[in-house]
């Protein structure tokens, strides 16, 4: 059963995403995206996914915002806005493009809504996704990994290779950035 407060959270998410796309000032967009992440963290908290909520709040709302602002300091703050003459000249092409985009979006929306019809109810304990490997993790992780928090048990032990790969990805990103941005300075 979906509570009224959850509908409010999801509504705030939609408002935030539309606002972030529509705003011309990219700094404001970034701040709105930070608010989006914070509301998303509250929703994860509501779904009892505490670890995900923690990551969303620290990485999504905290670090990502700062890094995007740092990137903005290297580029420009305002989005490119065409003048009135240019807009008048390109109005037919723009209308055609917007119409096509609207139809594509509508079709995608319809497919997604159709897809949700087969999905189990929100919070259904008998949903297949909750019984594939989750039962084993919940019942056996304490005996097999000897750790109280089974999210940590999954990340560190059952999916240890994945975590190593994840760390390598972060490492690769850092090294790539050093190679790209440091060379241009000297």
């Amino acid at each position: 059963m979906v509570d009224i407060i959850e509908i409010i959270y999801l509504f705030i998410l939609i408002v935030c995403s539309v606002a972030a796309v529509r705003m011309k000032d990219l700094l404001s967009s970034t701040v709105v995206l930070g608010a989006y992440s914070l509301v998303m963290a509250i929703i994860w908290m509501d779904l009892n996914a505490v670890d995900v909520a923690f990551t969303e709040a620290s990485v999504g709302a905290g670090i990502t915002t700062v890094l995007i602002i740092a990137a903005l300091s290297r580029t420009t703050r305002g989005e490119y806005v065409p003048g009135i003459e240019e807009r008048y000249k390109t109005r037919k092409a723009r209308r055609l493009k917007n119409g096509a985009l609207f139809i594509v979006t509508l079709c995608t929306f319809g497919v997604l809504v159709y897809g949700t019809m087969d999905m189990p109810n929100f919070g259904d304990p008998d949903a297949p996704a909750r019984h594939h490997v989750a039962d084993r993790y919940i019942e056996k992780s304490h005996e097999e990994v000897y750790v109280e928090n089974f999210v940590t048990a999954i990340l560190a032990s059952y999916r240890g290779y994945d975590t190593l790969g994840e760390t390598s990805v972060i490492f690769t990103a850092g090294v790539a950035l050093m190679m790209l941005l440091r060379r241009s300075k000297s």
Partner: protein, 140 residues
Amino acid sequence: MNEHVIVQTISKILIPFIQLYALYVLAHGELGPGGGFQAGAIFGASIVLYVLAFGMKSAKLRFKSKVFDFLTSAGVFIFATVGVLCMIAGGAFLQYSSLPLPTKKLASGIGIYGIEIGVFITVTAVLVTIFFETAEQDDD
């Protein structure tokens, strides 16, 4: 420099607590929510806060980028080393309970701490490096 006196004072008070909290999140990952990744993000954020409050010049004096270059690879190295140590002790790669310690629970706990510390170091160093490199040009 002097017009930032409120920001600088508040940052000076807050940064140690943020870093202590990051270490708490790292150490408490076994029992509650958290772990190396989140702790690294919070610790990186504390250094970013320092840069924002005190400017890039004084931050460059305090945090050498060579140290962070070293730490970036050291974290992945620690992670992989824990895995290889498990193999040397006779288990599979990253099979912590095979580490030669009195109880399997202790071995598992120490192994998981090892990899969490590896993740923590890499995430912190990479986040700080990204911020230093992208926000380089505007000094005050």
